[in-house]
Each structure stands twice: as structure tokens, then as C-alpha cells.
Symmetry: C2
Subunit: 86 residues, 2 copies
């Protein structure tokens, strides 16, 4: 077996896929055209509340720590937005 | 020319790539292990401030509307978190 030349169909396929833009959100509220959430900051209960930016949380729009598994699986470096009352 | 059978190297390559987990953040602060931002909500200046969750904003962690181009290019449905003072 020899590695396919870079002009092979397989290599072309890989190149094309690697530059294709990917969706960030695979599963959350896919019936909505655009998922926008609002927080009235005066209603925050805790000193610090973490909001998800990885789109993997089981408690979206809140962060449940799922970014850690996502980062480990993909080499990504995403994390939450922390809302602090002071 | 005939389309490669599904057991061809090219088809295997495509299948493997299509199920591989992808990073959400391609570019922002890649020297950081985990990108976490904090907002002290009492310091918010405007009635509504939009924070980015698509990782495409030129003003991250703020939203600059780049989610619209991302959604159009990928079929995704992501949008910002809106922080409202009341
Ligand atoms: S679970 Fe998504 S940022 Fe924490
Ligand atoms: S630019 Fe990222 S959510 Fe608007």
C-alpha cells in the first residue's frame, strides 16, 4: 500500500471537507430560524451565572459544563460567558 | 467515469470526516486553553447588549452580527445572548 498522491480523489475529498463551513449548533431548538435568548440582569439570582457558548449544554442557554467534553473531543477551547452581579 | 462504490477510500474518507466532531471556535484567542469571559452586569452601559455565541464576531465577546453570515453559509441557527438592564 502506498499513500495516495495529493491529487487523488480521496485527498481532494479531504481537502474540500476540511474547508467547508460547519454548523456550530447540532441540536438545540432547530425549529427556530435563529436562537436568541434574553437575560434581564436584575433578575439574576446567584452572584455568578454561567451561560453556554458551546451549544452542547443540556440546560441551554445555561452552561452545564458540557464545553469540557466538547473541548477534549475536538481540541477546541470554548467556554461560557459569566454574568456577575458585582 | 463511474461513481466510486461506497466502500472506496474516498467514500470512507467522506464518511469519517462527516461524523468527526468539529471545533466551534476556529480563530478566537486560540492561545487560551478555555475562553471564558465575565460581565459585571451593574456595569452594562446600554439597555440591551448582545453577546456572541457563534464565535465569528470581530468584536468578541460582543456580537457584531456575524452570526447572520455564518447561519447563511452553513444552514445553522445560532444567535446572541441579549443582556437587558430591565
Ligand atoms: S456547556 Fe456550553 S459553555 Fe459550558
Ligand atoms: S456575531 Fe456571534 S452571535 Fe452575533
Amino acid at each position: 500500500y502506498s499513500r495516495p498522491a495529493s491529487s487523488s480523489a480521496a485527498a481532494k475529498s479531504r481537502r474540500m471537507v476540511s474547508v467547508r463551513a460547519e454548523a456550530v449548533n447540532p441540536e438545540i431548538r432547530k425549529t427556530e430560524d435563529k436562537v436568541v435568548d434574553s437575560v434581564v440582569v436584575t433578575e439574576l439570582a446567584k452572584p455568578v451565572t454561567a451561560y453556554c457558548r458551546c451549544w452542547r449544554s443540556g440546560t441551554f442557554p445555561l452552561c452545564d459544563g458540557a464545553h469540557m467534553k466538547h473541548n477534549k473531543a475536538t481540541g477546541d477551547n470554548v467556554g461560557p460567558l459569566l454574568l456577575k452581579k458585582q
